[in-house]
Symmetry: C2
């Protein structure tokens, strides 16, 4: 569990939790309250990577610049490390109660985590991805996979931060839309970087999508159109945030702009 | 998920949730409130069976009288079905709020579920079991594995039922001890039945422990001593329950006595 959790990575999801919490009232105290949710979402993300990398799934040897979990500890321990992280994420999330988040909000976060990470969210997206590998033919189908496989957990991250800061329903909705769009843009950018990036910067081999004959955004609509889509989604995300009456949306907007320009 | 969840089985854990909830005040209403926890614990139990049966783990072909999940759907889908059930268990557990269980109690159950099913509980026990397969030499070591691998989730079941009925701290402790002992007795009985039972009644091949050279209770202390231990643990469990000031412990005691005499 430690091996994969502490292997680095961008920490995008926990950063989004903290930034969303801070955005609501513009205070650092809310961000501190949201820390248990930030840790929980990184555990969920890490478990999903460990299981996705297994030979039975994507069969990847490298992740975050080091050997994948099962290459070091074997398949059985990698499955259990994933199960342990997934289960422990919920334990960590409930710690928010001790940080002063009201019980109703903590419960909302637990419910949302199990929804966005579960069968109607990330796990469902992964299933659709595996079932569709032979036959994704439309942009709509591909987008639907990405929305669940990637966007859902990012949307959760924003909403969890919002709950920690006791955001209004309107703010939670804006966070959800921001997360949806940023998540989708993130995934398209991943597809673009797999084609145009450097293995050194990415910490994993490039052009693996082509080798695995994966249907990607660049494959379906070309590189230029894919880049345009990333920019549009980011613009929409930022606009939704600006209209939500947040005290300090600046940092979230910086993050979405940074993601737009990232090379790894 | 449905294939394994609806394959039958004894439903021991959900029955214990409902029976514990009823025991506190002797009312059916508390049992009804505890239903979301009963469903959650069966989902956790089922996910653990799906993952345990994988080729990378115990590599079993049959479970509950039918082909194991991965034999029907493949390893990737079996991993994801397990992940989906594990995640959804927490979703279902939070439904208890709608059934009238106070938010603090629901949160306690979520925290306990992630503890008893997680790295210091069931997952940890499974890890110890796999690491120890080559070298379990003492009864203490074996008992420690069983306490986490089996007893923890059964202890959770009892405590979750207790929370639904707003049990006192003393009652929760008695439930925990009852679950610990019944779980251990259950596991020893499993070891005994693997040696002496019929494949037809068990729904799985017998003598698989011997074939896999597993260290079991009968292997370490013999059949007679193992049977004696099951009876002692059951007696202790029932005594703890009788002293907890429960309105109606009868059904729980019937269950532990039934388990003592089971042949499958």
């Amino acid at each position: 569990m430690d091996y994969s959790l502490l292997a680095g990575g961008k920490r995008l999801r926990p950063i989004l939790v903290l930034a969303a919490a801070e955005a609501v009232k513009g205070d650092e105290q809310s961000a501190a309250k949201s820390m248990p949710f930030a840790c929980a979402v990184e555990m969920i993300h890490t478990y999903s990577l460990i299981h996705d990398d297994l030979p039975a799934m994507d069969n990847d040897d490298y992740r975050r610049g080091i050997l994948t979990n099962h290459k070091v500890f074997g398949d059985a321990m990698a499955i259990l490390a994933g199960d342990g992280l997934l289960t422990h994420a919920f334990h960590v999330a409930t710690d928010a109660l001790k940080h002063g988040v009201p019980p109703e909000r903590v419960l909302s976060v637990v419910t949302e985590l199990s929804k966005y990470a579960g069968l109607s969210g990330m796990v469902g997206g992964q299933v659709d991805d595996m079932l569709g590998e032979q036959g994704v033919t439309s942009l709509e189908q591909l987008e639907n996979i990405h929305l669940h496989k990637t966007s859902d957990l990012i949307a959760f991250s924003l909403r969890a931060g919002g709950h920690a800061a006791e955001a209004s329903e309107k703010q939670l909705e804006a966070f959800g839309l921001f997360g949806r769009n940023v998540g989708l843009a993130f995934q398209i950018q991943d597809d673009i970087l797999d084609l145009t990036g450097s293995a050194d910067k990415l910490g994993k081999p490039v052009k693996s999508d082509e080798r695995q004959e994966k249907v990607t955004y660049p494959f379906l609509i070309g590189l230029d159109e894919s880049r345009k889509r990333v920019a549009e989604l980011t613009k929409e995300a930022n606009e939704a945030l600006m209209k939500a009456g947040l005290a300090k949306p600046d940092r979230l907007i910086e993050i979405s702009d940074y993601l737009l320009k990232r090379d790894h």
